[in-house]
């Protein structure tokens, strides 16, 4: 037996290994720290992420490298998504610290769970095998369940965690079931092997299709799109804002990677089939997300529904890749979806960052009314929120417009004109609730005259985040071509 064991090439997995080692170090260090020294944990977390970024950047060579018996892949797409992931998590940690301190939630567990969630997402991004993707997904999900419940005295958070856990477990079950079906049809768990089996027509179509449905359901749950969206508003609302910030941002990147690996890598020859499923899901998400968001008074719920519609929009890009067997549009469509996902993460970070900024000890900013008169209290942050809202509504000059433009362009190119019309009509309806936030900020008088107090790092980061939304809108070319370039090697 032993002579068959070959030490896998660990080099492509360096960032994951580094993160795991550092997470263990932090785990031990944190046990020795009191509350007053908790900043050391936060600082170590940031250093860890920066180190991961450095390693990923250094080892980026544009090659597709498979390791761990073809279970793990390191390609440009993975590197690029991981770099964005680190950045998103760094921003999350910076935003969250002060909020957690004010609520006495600044336990070492928060940082550790965030790090383990990050590790899970990294594994998902690099997965080339059903088991790897499941491993990453579960590591992410379990960390998130625990994070939602981190404020254990809050019944609302506990309820949200419970709901998330039960539904999440169900979704994992569906995914596993789908994987087993595909395994049954193709006889392998490796993505490349599956693709070959399907291409060679050797797979049992019925079983394969059966599995595909469950896989799509699993992806949809992770993205939080209709009809697997039920958990999204409740979890966003129930979780402490610092945790909502985690859930609403980085995992979208990982879920995008999961969709690319599963649907495009493994099941590309079934594109015609899964595109139809995504079409229904995307259309329903855009309609329901936008309509339900109008009725919300709680801004976290509103952003949750808006997120559902944004993810639907992102799926529009994914489903426009193959037209009647013609794969000519694939790169264009998938890179537009990726650009959309990245843009959404940037906007989402800023929107929840604003909520954290307005919250303080003993006060949670979570209703739209909490934004009343923000322009009078601080015209700078009102402007930043205005950027975020108009960007999410898809109004130029902001990044959200170019994200919508590139996705719509892909959809029209694929010939789904009606889908594009549906999407823009729903965007107008969506504009209403974004405008309402701008309205309360600018047109209404403040009810809460308390000055906005936040530590310097939050202010700086939030300003940078808001300005990035505007700057990337003025010059979106680089990010767009990076997305296309990163995907190029993986198609």
């Amino acid at each position: 037996m032993l002579q068959n064991f070959i030490t896998p090439d660990l080099y492509p997995a360096m960032p994951e290994i580094f993160l795991l080692v550092m997470a263990c170090v932090i785990l031990l260090t944190d046990a020795l720290l009191g509350r007053a020294q908790r900043w050391i944990t936060a600082a170590l977390t940031l250093i860890t992420l920066a180190g991961c970024a450095l390693i990923t950047y250094q080892t980026m060579d544009g090659q597709v490298v498979l390791t761990f018996s073809n279970m793990f892949v390191d390609d440009l797409l993975a590197d690029f998504l991981k770099l964005l992931l680190y950045l998103a998590v760094i921003v999350v940690v910076i935003y969250s610290r002060d909020y957690l301190v004010a609520r006495q939630l600044d336990k070492g567990e928060y940082y550790l769970l965030v790090l383990f969630a990050t590790l899970g997402m990294m594994v998902m991004i690099s997965a080339a095998h059903f088991l790897t993707i499941y491993l990453g997904l579960e590591l992410l999900s379990l960390s998130l369940y625990a994070l939602v419940a981190i404020d254990r005295d809050s019944p609302r958070a506990t309820e949200a965690a419970m709901k998330y856990f039960v539904l999440g477990a169900l979704a994992s079950g569906l995914l596993l079931y789908g994987m087993s079906m595909v395994y049954g049809a193709t006889g392998t768990l490796e993505f490349s092997g599956i693709a070959q089996a399907i291409y060679g027509q050797s797979a049992n179509q019925t079983v394969l299709m059966f599995g595909l449905v469950f896989l799509v359901a699993g992806i949809c749950f992770k993205l939080g799109v209709v009809p697997f969206h039920m958990w999204v508003p409740d979890v966003y609302q129930g979780a402490p804002t610092a945790v909502t910030l985690v859930i609403a941002t980085a995992p979208k990147l990982a879920a995008f990677a999961m969709a690319v690996r599963l649907l495009i890598w493994a099941l590309f020859d079934l594109a015609e089939e899964w595109q139809v499923m995504l079409m229904l899901v995307a259309g329903a998400s855009i309609v329901l997300g936008n309509l339900a968001a109008i009725a919300q008074q709680n801004i976290k719920r509103m952003l949750a529904y808006s997120g559902i519609s944004h993810m639907g929009f992102m799926l529009l890009g994914l489903l426009a890749g193959v037209v009647e067997g013609d794969r000519h549009f694939a790169l264009n469509a998938y890179s537009s979806a990726m650009f959309y996902a990245v843009s959404y993460v940037i906007m989402s970070l800023a929107s929840f960052g604003m909520l954290i900024l307005l919250s303080r000890a003993g006060f949670e900013a979570e209703n739209i009314d909490d934004f009343k008169g923000l322009n009078k209290r601080s015209s700078w942050y009102a402007l930043m929120m205005l950027f975020v809202m108009f960007s999410m509504a898809g109004v130029p000059f902001f990044i959200g417009f170019f994200a919508k433009l590139s996705v719509l362009q892909a959809v029209v190119a694929a010939g789904y004109l009606w889908l594009a019309v549906l999407a823009v009509v729903m965007s107008v309806i969506g504009a209403f609730y974004y405008l309402r936030v701008v309205k309360v900020m600018y047109f209404d008088e403040p009810v809460d005259a308390a000055p906005i107090r936040a530590p310097a790092e939050v202010r700086v980061m939030l300003s940078a985040n808001g300005l990035a939304i505007a700057a990337l809108g003025l010059a979106p070319q680089m990010l767009m071509s990076l997305c296309a370039y990163a995907l190029l090697g993986s198609l």
Binding site: N375, S379, L386, F390, V395, P396, F397, F401, F402, L405, S406, L408, Q409, V412, A413, L417, A420, V421, V424, V425, S427, V428, A431, F432, L435, V438, K439, Y442, F443, P476, Q477, M480, S481, A484
Partner: protein, 490 residues
């Protein structure tokens, strides 16, 4: 030769606005900075007129460089005889708006001035963009400052008006976005407007394109029956907002017809011209009657704007030189006249805090100088000869009679209707005995108000007496456009 005057016309006001924002709560500093920026913004547009070659039909002052190569989107600017005057008009009106808001706006002065300057830059961008996405970006971005202006400094029902304004225009323009994407794909990956003008398109897609553009531009013009946002927006907007809305923003829709609908879909334009003419005539006549019964002065002028803009769209879709040039003259004249009318109402509103005609009467007794100006502008609005209002209406009416006698006949009723609603309002507000003690206490216009009214009066009279400098610029481009539209693209 490359020049940067168009870029300057766009970015000087926008970057200047950032400086104005920096003034913060220093009201006077904000006002003076805004005035300087507005003047600078106007100054950089002057070379566009001075250096304009009237013999050339094509684009001038062209600037072209890649912006988003991924989708072949370019930063492509240029003006021809159709668009150049609007850039000047816009930059000129911006100065007046800054002066008009000088003492009236007390709250958040820097933001008020900055918003108008940004909007001025964005609208210059719309008139000079030759790349469809660049056009669209400016077109939509201009909604943001206007939304803020109506919502923050507007009247009691401002929230409703601001939302209605924004959502109405957004729906129209998003459908246009799909048309733009369709053209991008049909042209093999180009957003270049001039290339699109040469693109061959079948009849069915042409009609769909025309309809998509129609939705966007008809809302903006606004044409009956999608005009209902305008009276609301005008009534609630502060004076400066109404001025910009009427003088410039409404022109964007009409300009869009000339830049997009006619040259890109000429066959559909001809095919659907009867519909367009019918909608225009409804705007002219029906909305004229609606204006007649308004009790609120701003609403009356708003409806009068819709009616006048009906004349503009009518002029476009009769496809002769008189019609198109007349419509363009009418657009510029309406820019002056409607700005002046709204400023006049603003002058009275600042004193009385009422726009109801019934609250006034005998204003001439207490504000004689003002009454004189108001008289001139009312006459211009009614289309009296020797004012700018006459020239455009006369040209369009002549063109319409050439096209079809009855169309011309119906269009000409505007001269009667316009006189009826404007002068009747004027009579009720200005003449007669002093209506109440508030009117008796009115003070006549101060130097500042005199200044902007006098400036506009000069423009209105000059254009009415000697319109040649305006029409001269248009000839070559309009002829070129008409020639282009006459050729089928099927």
């Amino acid at each position: 030769m490359s020049s940067h005057f168009l870029s300057l016309a766009i970015w000087v006001p926008i970057l200047g606005a950032l400086v104005v924002f920096a003034a913060g709560n220093e009201k006077n500093l904000a006002r003076w900075t805004a005035l300087i920026v507005a003047f600078a913004g106007f100054a950089v547009t002057l070379p566009l007129y001075m250096g304009f070659d009237v013999g050339q039909a094509g684009m001038q002052f062209v600037e072209q460089r890649p912006w988003i190569p991924r989708f072949n989107i370019e930063y492509f600017l240029g003006v021809d005889g159709i668009s150049v005057l609007f850039i000047l008009l816009n930059s000129f009106i911006t100065i007046l708006v800054v002066i008009a808001g000088w003492e009236v706006i007390e709250e958040k002065v820097a933001q008020y001035m900055g918003a108008f300057l940004i909007m001025s830059g964005l609208m210059n961008g719309i008139f000079s963009a030759l790349d469809a996405v660049l056009f669209y970006v400016f077109f939509e971005a201009s909604l943001i400052p206007m939304y803020i202006i109506i919502g923050v400094w507007g009247g009691p029902n401002r929230v409703y008006a601001a939302f209605k304004f924004f959502l109405y225009t957004l729906l129209g323009s998003l459908l246009m976005l799909i048309a733009l994407i369709w053209l991008f794909l049909a042209s093999g990956g180009s957003f270049n407007l001039l290339e699109w003008h040469q693109l061959r398109i079948d009849m069915a897609p042409q009609i769909l394109l025309f309809v998509a553009f129609l939705v966007a531009f008809a809302v903006k013009v606004p044409m009956w029956p999608v005009h209902t946002w305008l009276p609301d927006a005008h009534v609630e907007a502060p004076t400066g907002g109404s001025v910009v809305l009427a003088a410039i923003m409404l022109k964007l829709g009409a300009y869009g017809f000339l830049r997009f609908s006619l040259p890109i879909a000429p066959d559909a334009s001809h095919y659907l011209a009867p519909l367009m003419i019918a909608l225009s005539l409804i705007a002219v006549i029906y909305i004229g009657f609606v204006a007649l019964v308004q009790a609120d002065m701003k609403k009356l002028i708003a409806y009068s704007s819709i009616s006048h803009m009906g004349f503009v769209t009518l002029g476009f879709f009769i496809f002769n030189r008189l019609g198109v040039e007349g419509a363009l003259v009418q657009m510029i004249s309406h820019g002056f006249v409607s700005a002046a009318m709204f400023l006049c109402v603003g002058v009275m509103y600042d004193r009385m805090h009422s726009r109801q005609i019934a609250d006034y009467g005998g204003v001439v007794n207490t504000m004689p100088k003002f009454a004189g100006f108001f008289m001139l502008f009312a006459m211009a609005n009614a289309g009296l000869p020797a004012t700018s209002g006459f020239v455009g209406e006369f040209m369009v009416a002549l063109g319409a009679i050439k096209y079809n006698f009855w169309v011309g006949f119906l269009a000409a009723t505007t001269l009667v209707l316009g006189a009826a609603y404007t002068l009747w309002m004027y009579k009720r507000v200005v003449f007669g005995a002093v209506a109440n003690s508030h009117v008796a206490e009115l003070a006549d216009i101060n130097h500042r108000e005199f200044l902007f009214l006098a400036l506009l009066a000069v423009c209105v009279l000059a254009m009415g007496v000697y319109p040649y400098p305006f029409t001269e610029v248009m000839h070559a481009s309009v002829d070129n456009l008409l020639k282009h539209v006459a050729v089928s693209k099927l």
